[in-house]
Symmetry: C3
Subunit: 365 residues, 3 copies
C-alpha cells in the first residue's frame, strides 16, 4: 500500500529541524474569514559577465519572485478553519507566466494558471491537511536560510544549481499534513505526492513521479533549525533514477545581525549514481531603513573532476515602505572541476569565473 | 440569411421544459452594482480500478469544477442592467488551466484565459441578451438533474461519455437570449453560435462550427422540467457530420428527498450516422448537515454490438459551512456491447467493469 | 555603452508634440494607496465583406480591447509613490488570452499572463521611472487621435496595417521615464527596451530587439499635440532590418466637436528598404448620451505599385452609463496599387474594396 509507504517514510524524514522564516507558510492562526488578492511585482536590471559573453536583461523577481494570487481563510468555528491559496508566477519583465508539471515528471511540464501554489486546506488545533500543488519541504531549507531568498544573482547556489529535478521546489498532486503552531516552537510537515501513472503491469515505471517529503524544525528565542528530506521515484537508467534529498538549515538572530547556514545533499540514483553536496552561510545586518546582506554558497557534484561553483554575494535592500523597496546585489561565481556555471545568463569557459549585478524595484500588494 | 435560420430553429427547439437548479445561471434580479471575485477549489483523492489497470490520482473538481473568476452587475436604472462574467477553469491539483475552442471546431482547441465563461450582458424585464462564450443549453439538462452535477466519479454518464463534440458543453462566439425571471415559472434561452470561417465558395464547409441551441422549462412548487436541443454544423464525411442533440430533464423535491431524471439523444449525422441514447435517475436526501446522493446513469451508441456503459453511484457531502464541505463518492460502471469505459483513469477489458471512489474537500470563495 | 545610445536617441526623438487622450496613461497624481481590480468586456457582431469572401464573427474589443487586470498605487510620503500595473488582454468572444514577445523579436512570441502591461513604478515630482512591459511611445499617436481608439472595423489604418513589427505597439524588458504632470502642459516619455540576447562575438545580431522610443507633447486649452519616434534594431537581410518610426498627432476640442489628425512614417531598413506612410483625420461630436464619430485614414508603402489602403469610418456610441455602452460602426476600405487589405476578416481581390460593420456592447469594471 502506498499509504503505508507514506507513513513509514514520513517517520524517517521527520527529525529535529528549523527556521520559520519569512516565507515558510506554515499553519497560522485563523481569526476571521477573508479573501485576499495579493502579489509582488519585482523587476530589475540584471547584468552578467563571463569570459565568453556578457548579457544585459531586464529581469523579473530579483529579490522575490513576481506573482499574483488569491487566498482566503474561513473560520468554521470550534477551532476548525478552511483555507485556499491560488498563486501564479509572473515574469513581470515581459508578462509571461510560469510552468508546472502535471505528473511530477519532466514529461508533464506545461504552462500553468497557478503554478506556484494551488491548494485547499482544513486547519484545526491538530494541524493542517493541505491538498494540491505546493512547495516541497526540501525547498524551505534552501530558501529560509538564504539572505537572498533564492532570488536573483545572489541566490543560494544549492537552489540555483540543484540536481533534484522536477520536484526540487514544488510538487503537484500532493497530500500534506502540517503540524499546528502550538507545539512549543516545533513545526514541520509530511508530504506525499503522486505521478498518477496508470498502474498497468507492462508499463516499466508506474511509480515515476511518486514521492515523499518532510520537514521538522524548532524555532525559539531567535534561534531556528530544521531538517528536511525527500525521495521521488523514477525508473532507473543511465541518466535517471530515484532522487533523494536531505538538507538542514539553521539561523540565529543577534538583533544587530542575523546569521544563517545550510547544508545540502542531493542524489540521483541512476545506474552510476550522482551525488551533489552544497552549503550556504549568510548574514543580514539591519542598517538604516533596510538590510545589508552577505552570503557564500557552494554546490557541486561527484561527477569526474568534481565540478563545483562557489559564489559570494553582497546586497542592500532599501525599504521605502513595508510594501516597496529598491535594491542592488552583486555576486561573483568561481568555477572549478571543469564547471562553467554563470550568473544572469552570461557565458564563461570551464573553470573561469562569472560575475553580475541586479538593480531594481520591488512592490508588494 | 443566417439570422433567419436562427429564428426558425429557435422556434423549433423552444418547447416545454425544466430545472432551475443550482447551476442554471439564468437571468437574475439585479438590485445594485457590484464586482465580485469568486471561485471554487475542490480537490480529492480519486481512485479507479478495472481489470487491466488501476490508477490513483489527486484530482480537481470531484464535486464541482475548480475555478476562479470575476463577475459583476451594474444597475442602469429603468429596469435595465448590464453584467459581465469571466470564469476560468482550474485543475487545482497541479495548477493548470482549461481549454476553449476559438471556432467551435476541434481545430480551434487551445488553452484559454477564461474558458468556462466570458460574457457581457444587457438585462431588462424583457430578458437578457448575452454575448460571448458560455454553456450550451443542452448541457444544463445533463447537469441540473445530476445529483453529482457532472463532476467526479459519480457524474452522469450522458455527460462523461457524450459524443456531442466541441459544443457539447460550451460554445464560443455566441449570441444568446434568456427569458426574464417573471414569467410565472417559465425559463429558457435561445443561442446562436458561429464557427467564423471565411465564407469563400471553394471552401467545402464554411458553416462548420455554426450552430443553434435552446431550452425551455417550467419550475414551481418543487417541480421542474426542461427540454433542450442543439444542432452544430460540420461538413459530412465518414467520421464527421452535423451533430444534433435533444434532451429532457425533470425533478421533484419531496423535501425529505429530491428525485430527478433525464433522457438524452445525441446524433452525429456522418455518412453512416451514429446515435447515442442515455438516461439518468437520481435521488438526494438531506441528512444531517449534508446530502446523501444516489444516481444511476446509462449511455451508449447504436454502433455495432451497441456498446454501452451503466453506472451506479452513491455519495455523501458533509457541509462544514455554506462554503466548505468534505465528501466521498463511490461508483461502479458496467460495460456491455464491447465497451471498455472506465472510472478515474483506470483501464478495463471490453465488457468488464470499472469502479472508483473520490474523497475530498471543496471550498467556495 | 548602450546607456549613452539611449540618452542620445532620446534627445533626438523628444521634440514638440500631443494628445493626453483617454488612454494616455501618463503620470498621474497619487493621493492615497489602493489596489484595483479592473477590466473591460467588449463584444460585438463583426461582419466583413469583399469581392472574394465575406465573414461573420462575434468578436472581442470592437471599441476597446477586452481586458482584466490589477493595478495599484502606494503613497510613500514626501512626494514619492510606488505603483504597479498588471493587465491581460482577453478575446472575450472565446475566452482566450493574448500574446507577448519575451525578447522583442518574432522568435519570442508566446502566450502571456499579462500581455498588455506588466510594470512597477516609482513616481515623484520629478517624473516616473517605470520598468517592465508597456506600450511603446509610437503607439500613443496612433491611438490618442483615433476616434475609434485603434479598435474594431473603424481603427486607424496606420495602426491596423503597421509594418513596424514586434515593437509597434508594446515592448518587453523596458526601462522608461515619464515626465511629471506639473510641466505646464508638457508631457512625454523616454523608453529603452532590450532584446536580451547573449552578447557573444560569433552571434551575428546580439542587438536584435534592442531599441529606443520617446514622445513629447503639450496639451492645454482643448489643444494637444505630440510627436513620437522609435528605433528597434534587427540584423539586416533581404527581409529584415532596423525599424524606424516617426509620427505626430494633434487634436482640438471645439466642445461641439473634437477634431484630430495624425501623420505616420514607418521604415524597415532591410537591404532594399521599405517605407510606409499614412495619415488620419477624425472628428467626434457629442450627441445625446453618446458620441458620433468619423474618421478617414490611409496607409501604404513604397513597394512596387505603391500598395495602399484608404478607409472611411462612421460610428455611434450610446452610453447607457459611465461604464456601459452599446455601439455601431461602419467602415469602407478602398485598395490601390495592388493592395488587397480587408475589414473584419473578409477576402477581396487586389484593388477592390472591402466593407464591414461592428455592432456590440461594452462594459467597464
Amino acid at each position: 500500500m502506498r499509504t503505508l509507504k507514506v507513513l513509514a517514510f514520513t517517520a524517517l524524514v521527520l527529525n529535529a529541524a528549523a527556521a520559520a522564516a519569512q516565507n515558510s507558510q506554515v499553519t497560522r492562526p485563523v481569526t476571521s474569514s477573508s479573501v485576499t488578492l495579493f502579489g509582488i511585482v519585482d523587476i530589475g536590471l540584471a547584468y552578467g559577465t563571463g569570459t565568453e559573453a556578457s548579457r544585459t536583461q531586464l529581469a523579473s523577481g530579483r529579490t522575490s519572485a513576481s506573482r499574483w494570487g488569491v487566498r482566503g481563510f474561513e473560520d468554521l468555528g470550534g477551532g476548525l478553519a478552511a483555507g485556499f491559496w491560488l498563486e501564479a508566477g509572473l515574469n513581470a519583465d515581459d508578462g509571461t507566466g510560469g510552468t508546472t508539471s502535471t505528473n511530477n515528471q519532466p514529461s508533464g511540464t506545461t504552462s500553468a494558471l497557478f503554478n506556484r501554489r494551488s491548494t485547499v486546506s482544513l486547519i484545526s488545533n491538530w494541524g493542517e491537511l493541505r491538498l494540491g500543488r505546493d512547495f516541497t519541504s526540501i525547498f524551505r531549507n534552501r530558501d529560509d536560510v538564504d539572505p537572498f531568498t533564492t532570488s536573483g544573482v545572489g541566490a543560494n547556489l544549492a537552489d540555483a544549481l540543484t540536481i533534484a529535478g522536477t520536484t526540487a521546489t514544488r510538487a503537484s498532486n500532493m497530500v500534506a499534513y502540517f503540524l499546528p503552531s502550538n507545539l512549543g516552537g516545533f513545526f514541520g510537515e509530511a508530504q506525499y505526492f503522486m505521478g498518477e501513472n496508470v498502474d498497468v503491469s507492462n508499463v516499466p515505471s508506474p511509480d515515476d513521479g511518486d514521492g515523499f517529503a518532510g520537514r521538522l524544525g524548532w524555532a525559539g528565542g531567535g534561534f531556528a533549525v530544521a531538517v528536511a528530506g525527500s525521495r521521488t521515484q523514477y525508473g532507473q537508467s543511465a541518466t535517471t533514477g530515484d532522487i533523494e534529498v536531505v538538507n538542514v538549515g539553521a539561523s540565529y538572530d543577534f538583533q544587530f545581525m542575523k546569521i544563517s547556514a545550510g547544508y545540502y545533499h542531493d542524489e540521483i540514483k541512476q545506474i552510476s549514481p550522482v551525488t551533489a553536496t552544497g552549503y550556504l552561510v549568510g548574514a543580514v545586518f539591519p542598517i538604516g531603513p533596510g538590510q545589508l546582506k552577505f552570503s557564500f554558497s557552494s554546490y557541486g557534484t561527484d561527477e569526474p573532476d568534481d565540478p563545483r561553483g562557489d559564489k559570494a554575494a553582497v546586497g542592500y535592500v532599501y525599504n521605502l515602505s513595508k510594501r516597496t523597496s529598491v535594491y542592488g546585489t552583486y555576486a561573483y561565481l568561481h568555477n572549478s572541476g571543469g564547471a562553467s556555471f554563470t550568473l544572469n545568463g552570461a557565458l564563461t569557459a570551464p573553470d573561469r569565473h562569472s560575475a553580475g549585478f541586479d538593480l531594481g524595484i520591488k512592490h508588494i500588494f
